[in-house]
């Protein structure tokens, strides 16, 4: 069957099986930032934005996003995304980097709907992104920094 969706701003028609999950479809079409860590919706490494909402692509059938707007980290290029990237690097919030695309998706999604989150709200928005390297401390700091920066501007 065909999947018609807008991925990172580009309208695409992709050939998919009814039972294929979005993670596999994205990766085999070159969107390698979307990582496979568990395939059970637990680790968050495969997260993407579907119509602006952060979701695990391994628990979505590709067919579910028919006509939707999908964004992966490759397609996030606005001020918010750049600020997040900059602060993640500045604060040392990136170690192995495998969880990072998923974390950036969650952070982007949070700050898009809540420009001034509390620490609790940041933690809640990241609660589906497992990281084994950083202990989360600097990731939370980086998001706070971006919120502050963009709040001032």
């Amino acid at each position: 069957m065909n999947l018609e969706a807008t991925i990172n701003g580009e309208e695409l028609t992709l050939e998919v099986e009814p039972g294929e999950v979005l993670l596999d479809v994205l990766r085999r079409n070159g969107f390698k930032s979307v990582k496979e860590g568990c395939k059970t919706g637990d680790c968050g490494a495969c997260m993407v934005l579907v119509d602006g909402r952060a979701m695990t692509s391994c628990t979505l059938f590709a067919a579910q996003v028919q006509g939707a707007e999908i964004k992966t980290v490759e397609g996030l290029n606005d001020e918010l995304a750049e600020s997040l990237r900059e602060n993640f690097l500045d604060k040392g919030a990136v170690q192995c980097g495998f969880c990072i695309p998923g974390v950036l998706i969650s952070a982007y999604s949070l700050l898009s709907s809540n420009a001034d989150p509390t620490e609790e709200e940041i933690k809640a928005a990241l609660d589906g992104n497992l990281c084994r390297c950083t202990g989360y401390v600097k990731q939370i700091e980086a998001i706070k920094e971006t919120a502050e920066e963009l709040g001032d501007s």
């Binding site: 919706g41 628990t59 059938f61 579910q64 028919q66 969650s106």
Partner: protein, 286 residues
């Protein structure tokens, strides 16, 4: 994830969705898909997408004291809704936020949580203590049923054949109300090993109506009618909280599973009940 999906349908209406379901011997409705994601069934199945049928209206009618939630509204949207954040002092939004994780709440829908609920379902426990009505579509007809009757044995088969359309929560407030939700899990990113919801309608601290439900017992949520009756007419306070906890541990049917033992569940339900009622008491006193 389901391993063998043979066909994926996009019905244009509820009626079409329902008739597709009737026609296909093994088919599931899918909205967010988070419930299906936990199945690793290899049997061939067809999926019927109900996510784009406009069943995601979300509204709080303050005048009427009603919340209307379309079945395919995502959990997270409900959590973030400004109006709902102040309902029962945040009870609904805060308790729903305990569910799963951010991506699961973004994809998962209220309706999807209800048709084939997991025994650890937080949604079922939470709704059990609210005046909730479920509107569903079955055999070409639109029907409504009280949530408290949704999982009665004789209704099971009808439920399995239905598309849930919306929920309606009644917040009529002749008296004041306060509610509390508690969840015990092995870590913060985990389904409940025991969950508990409590709602108290009171008149200046005297309990007019009490609702107490516990789920993940490991079984699906049930209400503790005996405890509720005992609480009615009593004055809220720490001593009452303690007594209620004690009673709850006797009344709720609790068992073992691989997460925790039934005996431990007793201790937990005692503490969670006492803490919930004490919390409500403190909220009401300020």
């Amino acid at each position: 994830m389901l391993k063998h999906v043979t066909d994926y349908h996009y019905p244009g209406s509820l009626e079409e969705a329902a008739s597709l379901h009737d026609r296909e011997s093994r088919s599931f409705f899918i909205a967010g898909g988070t419930a299906l994601a936990l199945s690793d069934s290899k049997r061939p199945v067809e999926l019927i997408d109900v996510g784009e049928l406009g069943l995601d209206e979300l509204g709080l009618d303050e005048a009427e004291g009603k919340i209307e939630i379309g079945a395919t509204t995502s959990i997270q949207r409900i959590v973030e809704h400004q109006g709902i954040k102040s309902v029962l002092n945040g009870f609904l939004s805060e308790s729903l936020e305990e569910i799963g994780s951010y991506p699961i709440r973004n994809a998962g829908t209220l309706g999807g949580s209800l048709v084939h609920p997991f025994p650890w379902s937080d949604v079922v426990t939470i709704l059990s203590v609210l005046d909730t009505e479920v509107t569903y579509f079955h055999n070409g007809e639109r029907k409504t049923r009280d949530f408290s009757r949704l999982y009665e044995d004789d209704f099971r088969s009808e439920l399995n054949e239905s598309v849930i359309e919306k929920l309606s929560i009644d917040l009529e407030d002749e008296t004041s109300a306060a509610a509390s939700f508690r969840k015990f899990n092995r870590s913060e990113f985990d389904v409940a090993a025991l969950n508990l919801a409590c709602r108290i309608n009171h008149d200046q601290g005297e309990i007019v109506e009490a609702r107490l439900a516990a789920g993940a017992r490991p079984m699906l949520a049930e209400r503790a009618n005996e405890v509720e009756e005992e609480l009615t007419g009593e004055k809220l306070g720490p001593e009452l909280a303690r007594k209620a906890g004690n009673m709850a541990a006797q009344v709720f049917e609790l068992g073992d599973d691989k997460k925790i033992s039934g005996e431990y569940r007793e201790t937990l339900v005692e503490k969670m009940t006492a803490d919930a009622i004490k919390g409500i008491y403190q909220e009401v006193s300020t």
